[in-house]
C-alpha cells in the first residue's frame, strides 16, 4: 500500500461513521441497470429512541396544534392525529438539525421574499419560540402557560403571533407561528408511518385515498364522488402489509 492509498483509507475511515456506503463515489461501466429490488431505503420516520421535546414543550405544542386544526366529536383534529408526536420525531432527526440546509452566516435582516433566514435550525426555532411564548403568557395571564388558557384566549394569541404583534426576544414570532403551522399541516396529512395522521384521520377528513397507485378504473368519474378508504404505505387496518 502506498502513501496515497493509506491516506484515502484514512479519509474513508473517518467518513464511514457519518456516511452510508451509498454516498461513496462509484465507477459504473457495462453494469446494466444495477437493479436492486427490495433494497429500497425505507422512509426516515424518526429513529431516535428519545424525542426532542420536553414534557412542557409537548404540552404547549399540543395546545397550539389543537387550535390550528381543532377536533370535535365528529371530526378528529391535530391532537387526535398525533401531530405533536410527528413534530417531535421530525425535530429529533435530520430535519430538526437542518442537516441538508445551507446554514452558514451571516444572518442580516432579510426581505420577506428571501425566505427562511433564521440563524436557528427548526428544532432551535421551535424551542426558543415556545420558551418566549411561555414567558409571554406567564407575564400576561398571571403565571399561566399557553395550554392553561381558554380556547378564545389561545386563538387571540395565535392571531397576534401570526401578525407578528407579540414580540419575541431575538426572533420573529411570525416566523415561529408559520413554522409551527407548516409542521402541523405536515403532521396532519403525512403518511401515518411518520407518527402523524394516525388512523389516517387527515386523509379521511378531505377524502384523499392515500398511497394508492392505480386509478385507471376511476378516470371517467364524470363528476361523481370517488369514495375509497385510504391506504398508507404500510397498508390499512384489516388489510395490512405486516
Amino acid at each position: 500500500m502506498n502513501r496515497r492509498e493509506l491516506l484515502v483509507r484514512g479519509l474513508m475511515a473517518g467518513t464511514a461513521i457519518v456516511m452510508p456506503t451509498g454516498l461513496l463515489a462509484r465507477e459504473l461501466s457495462q453494469t446494466g441497470m444495477l437493479r436492486a429490488p427490495g433494497a429500497a431505503d425505507p422512509p426516515y420516520f424518526g429513529t431516535e429512541t428519545e424525542g426532542f421535546l420536553t414534557a412542557a414543550e409537548r404540552r404547549a405544542l399540543d395546545a397550539i396544534t389543537a387550535r390550528l386544526i381543532p377536533g370535535d366529536a365528529d371530526s378528529p383534529g391535530a391532537r387526535e392525529a398525533g401531530v405533536v408526536t410527528f413534530i417531535d420525531r421530525q425535530l429529533a432527526g435530520f430535519y430538526g438539525r437542518a442537516q441538508h440546509w445551507y446554514m452558514q452566516g451571516p444572518f442580516p435582516e432579510a426581505l420577506e421574499t428571501q425566505g427562511y433566514q433564521y440563524d436557528r435550525t427548526p428544532a432551535q426555532l421551535i424551542r426558543t419560540g415556545l420558551e418566549a411564548l411561555g414567558a409571554h403568557t406567564r407575564t400576561t395571564y398571571q403565571g399561566a402557560d399557553f395550554a392553561d388558557l381558554t380556547p378564545e384566549q389561545q386563538d387571540e394569541i395565535l392571531h397576534a403571533l401570526e401578525e407578528g404583534e407579540i414580540l419575541f426576544p431575538g426572533m420573529s414570532s411570525k416566523g415561529f407561528f408559520e413554522f409551527v403551522h407548516e409542521m402541523t399541516i405536515e403532521g396532519f396529512f403525512c403518511d401515518p408511518v411518520y407518527g402523524g395522521n394516525q388512523g389516517m384521520v387527515g386523509w379521511q377528513l378531505v377524502g384523499f385515498p392515500g398511497a394508492r397507485y392505480d386509478y385507471r378504473d376511476f378516470i371517467h368519474h364524470n363528476g361523481a364522488r370517488i369514495d375509497l378508504p385510504p391506504v398508507g404505505l404500510m397498508g390499512r387496518p384489516g388489510w395490512s402489509a405486516g
Binding site: 479519509l11 463515489a25 459504473l28 429500497a40 396529512f189 397507485y213 370517488i226
Partner: protein, 586 residues
C-alpha cells in the same frame, strides 16, 4: 494534488436529460464518453418503487431527490441595491441531483416552442416596432425549422402522448392550430381526460378558442421506444412532479436511455463526482478537461478532448463563472455575457370551486390536461398591448396531495375550525387553471457571483438578482382575465383568479423553469455559445440546457432543451469531429 485520470474523448458534467442524450449520441459515434454526476445512482425499483413513491412528506417536503442547499444554493435578491441572502431551503424552484437529474421528478409536460419564439427580437420588431431599450431579448440563432427533426426525435424517444395540430402545414382538428409544423403525429394518443378537462374544453370552445390535449410524457398506453425500451401505461396516481414514477410510465433518462447506455463498453459513469472547474489550455483556446472531487474528498484531473456541460442551468452558469470562461455580466455597464438574460416563468392561476360535482383530482397525472394556446407567443395581435410574448392557459389535473393542496374560497381563515370545514368541503370539488407565461429578458435580471456566501468548498455561491418586469405584469394582466372567463364558463359555484405578486418571492413553489445565463446567439458579442451550443471562447466546450435560452417562452422547457441537445450532438458528430474548431466564424 489532484490525481490524473486516463484521458477520454468526451467528459459530460452532469447526467440528467441532456447528459443521457449526449452520451447516447456520442457513444453511437464511437467516442469514449465519461459522465461525471455529483449525486448518486438511482433506479426505479430501488429508489422510488410503487410501494414508496406516493410519499408526499419524504419526496417533496423533505426534498429526497433534490439538491441539498447545504452543498450548493444561490443567493437571491429582487434588485441590485439589495443584499442577496442564501436560499436556505428551496421554495420557488427545485433543482435536481443524482442520475437522471430533474428528469426523474418532472411532470412530463412536453411542448415545442413556437417558430416565432426562436426569433423573438427580429419577429416582434418587424411586426410591432422597436422593443424597449432595457429589454435584452434576442434571436436564438437557430430556427424552428432546423430543430423540427430533433423535436420529433425526442418526442419519439419519450413516447409523447398528444394530438398534432399541424402536420407538414396541414391543420388537423383537435390539435393545436398555432403550433409549428410537425413532420409526424405524436407517437401515442392523448391521455384520457377527466371531468375538469371536459368542462374546460367545452368552456373554451364556447368562447371560440381552440383547446387541445396537453402533450404528455406520461404514457397513454404501453410503448416501446426507438431504443427498444418499454414504458408502461400511466395509472393516473397523481405523483409525478417532485416524485419518481414507480411504474415506468413517465419518460425519464432512466426509462428511455440509461438502460441502453449502461451496457455500452465505451460509456462510463462516475457518481458522487462533482466537477469544480473546467481546465483551460495555456493559450486559452481549448478546454483540456475538468477537475472534480469525490465524496471522500479526493481530487482528480480528468483530461478530455471535448467537455460538455450537462448540469442544470444554474449549475452550468456557475461553473462557467468559477472556471473563468468568458466575462461575468455587469448590468451597470452592460458588458460581460455569462449570467446575462436570466429569465423564469410568469405564472398565475384561477381556482374553480364546484358544489354538486366532484373533481376528484387525486386521479391525475403530471401531464394530464387540456390547453388553449390562442394567447401564447405571437398567436394574437399585440398591437397597443405594451408587451410581447404570451402564455398557455391549461387545465391540468396533476394531483390532490393534501400537504400541498388546500383549496379554500377567498376570505376563508388560514387555520381553525372554519378553515377545516372549508377544506373538507372543497378538497375534492376544486380544480384550477394555470396561466403559464413567457419571461422576457431585461437588463436588471441576471446572475453573478456572490461577494459574501461560499459553498462547502469555499467557493462563491452564485447570486440571483430577479424581479417581475413590466412586460410580465402587462402580459399577466391581459391573459389572466381570459383564463378567468373560461373558468366562469365551467359551471362551478365560485371562481378566483390570482395575480402576479408585487415582487418575485423565492418561497412559494412556482416552477423549475430557470433559463438564461449561458445564452446562445448569432455573434460572440451577444452570446456565450453559438448556434450549435459551442462556446465562442473554447471551441471544444459545449453548454447544454435552458441556460442557452436568450429568454423564456410561454411553455415548459424540456422539449426545447432536448431538441437543442440533439441538434448540438448532430453538429458535433457531423461537423466538429471532422474538423475540430469553431463551427461558426466570429
Amino acid at each position: 494534488m489532484a490525481e490524473r485520470k486516463p484521458p477520454v474523448d468526451v467528459v459530460l458534467v452532469g447526467f440528467g436529460w441532456t447528459g443521457a442524450i449526449m452520451a447516447q449520441e456520442l457513444t453511437e459515434a464511437g467516442l469514449e464518453v465519461l459522465a461525471l454526476e455529483r449525486g448518486g445512482w438511482r433506479d426505479t425499483p430501488t429508489d422510488f418503487p410503487p410501494s414508496h413513491a406516493p410519499d408526499e412528506l419524504r419526496y417533496y417536503w423533505r426534498h429526497q431527490m433534490f439538491l441539498e442547499t447545504a452543498r450548493e444554493t444561490q443567493t437571491f435578491r429582487n434588485s441590485t441595491g439589495q443584499v442577496a441572502l442564501p436560499i436556505r431551503r428551496w421554495g420557488s424552484y427545485l433543482p435536481g441531483v443524482g442520475v437522471g437529474g430533474a428528469g426523474v421528478h418532472w411532470n412530463g409536460q412536453t411542448f415545442r416552442f413556437l417558430p416565432s419564439d426562436f426569433v423573438a427580437r427580429s419577429h416582434n420588431e418587424e411586426r410591432y416596432g422597436p422593443l424597449p431599450e432595457d429589454m435584452t431579448v434576442q434571436d436564438y440563432g437557430v430556427t424552428y425549422d432546423e430543430l423540427e427533426p430533433h423535436f420529433d426525435r425526442f418526442e419519439k424517444l419519450c413516447g409523447i402522448s398528444g394530438r398534432a395540430g399541424n402536420i407538414n402545414g396541414t391543420l388537423r382538428d383537435g390539435g393545436n392550430p398555432f403550433e409549428g409544423w410537425r413532420s409526424d403525429e405524436y407517437p401515442n394518443p392523448p391521455m384520457e381526460m377527466t371531468f375538469s378537462q371536459h368542462r374546460f374544453e367545452a368552456a373554451a370552445r364556447g368562447l371560440g378558442l381552440n383547446p387541445f390535449p396537453g402533450p404528455s410524457a406520461n404514457m397513454s398506453r404501453a410503448y416501446v421506444n426507438p431504443l427498444g425500451l418499454p414504458l408502461a401505461p400511466c395509472t393516473y396516481c397523481g405523483f409525478c412532479e417532485k416524485y419518481g414514477c414507480g411504474n415506468y410510465s413517465k419518460s425519464s433518462p432512466q426509462t428511455t436511455i440509461i438502460p441502453v447506455l449502461m451496457k455500452k463498453p465505451n460509456f462510463t459513469l462516475r457518481t458522487h463526482s462533482e466537477v469544480l472547474h473546467v481546465n483551460k489550455s495555456a493559450d486559452g483556446t481549448r478546454a483540456t478537461g475538468v477537475t472534480y472531487v469525490d465524496t471522500q474528498g479526493n481530487e482528480y484531473e480528468q483530461p478530455a478532448e471535448i467537455v460538455i456541460l450537462c448540469g442544470y442551468q444554474l449549475s452550468n452558469t456557475r461553473l462557467m463563472m468559477l472556471s473563468g470562461i468568458g466575462e461575468i455580466y455587469n448590468p451597470g455597464t452592460g458588458e460581460g455575457l455569462v449570467g446575462k438574460n436570466y429569465c423564469y416563468q410568469v405564472m398565475t392561476g384561477v381556482d374553480v370551486f364546484f358544489d354538486e360535482e366532484y373533481t376528484n383530482e387525486f386521479v391525475g397525472a403530471g401531464a394530464l390536461g387540456m390547453i388553449v394556446d390562442d394567447y401564447n407567443g405571437d398567436n394574437f395581435d399585440h398591437t397597443g398591448l405594451g408587451f410581447i410574448g404570451g402564455a398557455y392557459i391549461g387545465c391540468w389535473t396533476t394531483n390532490a396531495r393534501p400537504i400541498e393542496s388546500h383549496p379554500v374560497p377567498e376570505g376563508t381563515p388560514g387555520w381553525g375550525a372554519e378553515w377545516k370545514a372549508a377544506l373538507q368541503h372543497n378538497f375534492l370539488r376544486h380544480t384550477s387553471l394555470s396561466v403559464h407565461g413567457a419571461s422576457m429578458a431585461y437588463r436588471g435580471n441576471y446572475l453573478d457571483l456572490d461577494p459574501t456566501y461560499k459553498d462547502i468548498y469555499g467557493r462563491p455561491l452564485m447570486r440571483m438578482t430577479y424581479d417581475f418586469t413590466q412586460n410580465d405584469r402587462r402580459l399577466s394582466e391581459y391573459i389572466t382575465p381570459i383564463a378567468e372567463e373560461i373558468a366562469r364558463n365551467m359551471g362551478g359555484r365560485d371562481v378566483h383568479a390570482s395575480s402576479l405578486d408585487d415582487h418575485y418571492d423565492i418561497v412559494p413553489y412556482q416552477t423549475t423553469h430557470n433559463t438564461g445565463g449561458t445564452i446562445m446567439g448569432e455573434t460572440p458579442a451577444d452570446s456565450v455559445v453559438n448556434r450549435y451550443l459551442q462556446s465562442w471562447d473554447l471551441h471544444n466546450l459545449f453548454v447544454m440546457g435552458a441556460g442557452v435560452f436568450p429568454q423564456n417562452a410561454g411553455y415548459n422547457p424540456t422539449d426545447t432543451v432536448a431538441a437543442l441537445t440533439y441538434w448540438s450532438a448532430q453538429a458535433i458528430r457531423d461537423q466538429y469531429l471532422r474538423a475540430p474548431g469553431p463551427m461558426v466564424q466570429a
